[in-house]
Symmetry: C2
Subunit: 398 residues, 2 copies
């Protein structure tokens, strides 16, 4: 046989690929209702607007867009980003902003710049499985920190910092993936202080902030950072288009310089056309009204999903997020989310079993439900089916 397993690098051991990406390939089955993925609604995407903008930027600046660009990113995007970041309370100049191929790439660049095999990275438990996979690929020692319904617990974070001497802590403080939980204001300040005090890089991954359906938008952890130890990641995937793959990393030198060196070898630079499209989208001033419009839909979809969850069997618990894309569900102990998915898929409903979001093998009885990419009607039908599947599992589990 070609290529014995021993031929691969050690970093590949035990990295089996994303559960979401695997489910992704199932979703094309006809009639499948998907609460998996973290996809925007098709109606939230604007091919005509993007076609028009694409045409406009290529007519205006096409040779530069099609030529090699700087690793540091498309100038117009670096110029437009500060005003966008200000909405999160993040002050940054263009040189502190590195456009990336989605915020996934920003996570990967930071980990490669910072982490040796065995270095500790602290995470919320559960957390985004794509980032866990990137951590495994740098052979990080991933350690969970206790969270509650107000997000990561600062006292637990400090305890873990003292105990494990981590290089970094990775947090999604706003409408977290997968739980939907939001870190409170006093805790945001506390996390920024801990980063500075203990010289731990806090990677603040913040792609969901603008998908806010009720309550106040909180300033980013980064807005409380004077030390440079908080690195801020943003993304245009959830508000403009995930397929364009445009995100950005906000950091100071010398960390920024190291990320740029890694990016040179990773892809030379991100594709300029998507960056130019996002820059022009921002410059046209059409993002705020687009966000209002998608939030109106997503709010109704979230409410429909929560309404249906209220009728789920006793012993099922779930989060009640005020933004983002996900509701998180704890099933009664003894019910395995992965087995439940098999039953659900037979009935044409898909979700992501929660276990893959945990760094420590726990969370077997959890699942992540996405509500953004299903109409109200589909949510009602899909959730009715899912309730029946859960009900059957509860009965079997007795």
């Amino acid at each position: 046989m070609f290529f014995e397993e021993t031929g691969f690098a050690d970093r590949m051991q035990g990295v089996s690929g994303s559960a979401i990406r695997a489910i992704f390939n199932l979703l094309s089955q006809p009639g499948m209702i998907s609460f998996a993925g973290g996809m925007p609604a098709a109606s939230a995407l604007e091919p005509d607007v993007v076609a028009d903008i694409s045409q406009a930027v290529l007519r205006a600046d096409g040779v530069r867009i099609l030529q090699y660009g700087a690793t540091e990113g498309w100038p117009a995007l670096k110029q437009a980003a500060p005003a966008f970041l200000k909405n999160a309370g993040v002050e940054a100049s263009p040189t502190q902003i590195l456009p990336t191929s989605g915020s996934m790439q920003a996570v990967d660049l930071l980990l490669r710049a910072l982490i040796n095999p065995g270095d500790v990275v602290l995470v919320e438990n559960p957390t985004f499985l794509g980032s866990l996979q990137a951590m495994r690929l740098v052979q990080a020692d991933i350690r969970p920190v206790d969270t509650d319904d107000e997000g990561i617990i600062p006292e637990a974070l400090e305890e873990a910092i003292i105990k494990y001497r981590p290089k970094a802590a990775y947090l999604i403080p706003t409408f977290q993936n997968p739980t939907g939980i939001t870190l409170t204001l006093p805790r945001r300040k506390a996390v920024a202080e801990l980063a500075a005090k203990h010289r731990v890089v806090v990677i603040e991954d913040d792609p969901y902030r603008d998908l806010c359906y009720s309550g106040e938008k909180l300033p980013a952890i980064k807005s409380f950072d004077d030390s440079g130890y908080v690195v801020y990641l943003t993304s245009f995937s959830k508000v403009i288009s995930p397929g364009l793959r445009v995100g950005a990393l906000v950091a100071d030198d010398p960390l920024m310089a190291k990320c740029i060196i890694v990016k040179q070898a990773a892809d030379t630079h991100s594709s300029s056309l998507p960056q130019a499209i996002v820059a022009e989208y921002l410059n046209r001033g059409i993002l705020p009204s687009h966000i209002d419009s998608i939030c109106a839909s997503y709010r109704a979809q979230l409410e429909a999903m929560l309404g249906k969850l209220a009728a789920f069997p006793e012993g099922v618990r779930y989060t009640r997020p005020r933004g983002g894309l996900f509701v998180w569900v704890w099933l009664p102990r003894g019910i395995d989310g992965t087995e439940l998915l098999q039953r659900a898929i037979e009935r044409k409903v898909a979700f992501v079993p929660g276990a893959s979001f945990y760094c420590d093998g726990s969370g077997v009885n959890t699942m992540r439900l996405n509500f953004s990419n299903a109409s109200l009607d589909i949510i009602e039908r899909g959730m009715d089916t899912l309730r029946e599947v859960v009900q059957e599992a509860v009965v079997k589990n007795r």
Copy 2:
């Protein structure tokens, strides 16, 4: 000070960033003549064609383009690529093709999938410095193999394989970057046989093949591979647009599966719009005539540069490529290419000093000259100036 140097990962040690990328930032100076970079001519880029194609694909398939896509790549590009690859003698089905963010990303994915710190990677000396940087970031032990004017020497390659037990060999067999040298047909067969015999992955990086100005196009090393140990990389950067960042990796499972796992964490997937544009560009059948047109210009530019080099001082040697983007120059011993660049930049001419293309600190007296991104007039003026700068260095060196 924020962030002591010790805070970074070991893989960052001694990786100082690309010399080309640093020079890139100088080139915007007014009046600067650049033989640096490996950029297509501005006239080779087609913003109107790309604008039209971009519009067309977004109108036809915009929601899918703007939505999350599969890590495995944009389906239409995977479908269109086999016919393109056939020109190189490479037979591949869509599942054996992974679109990447330029072939730079393909190199990076392969190295991360294969290389542990200390594993040997064999290279031509000199070779593409971006790939050397990617190798340093995985802490490869980079070993040079002897080459001559017919490319890498198979006997030297086999000797190095036996001596160093490498995981991989990285080769640019056609119109090599930086030398412009092309591996001969018998040697291509020999390299494919060595890959299979010794179970060494040969990474065949082949972005320049279509920029052929005289003589025969040779089939890829991959075309002689039955073992799966030859991995083929192609790129649309040199024939359509580098700024779009679209390349592809051709490999079999299980190596392909590992590359996909790394890519999930690296950027989830490459931006779909550039992939869809390249697919449609291929499907419209307009690439062959475009290649003919740019080759006609580049051929004349190459000849102009070689004509001017004939008048350089005695003791200057250079390659006479029959394709690609670069001429390679050996200066008389004692002349330092980096010092020469300082003098040349004062006179508004830029090139890339050759030393950074060597993995072993040699090649101080070399330089790489690019001819594709300068008009005949500019080439004549720039080369006259460069000849004077070299002449002065020769006199000083006596």
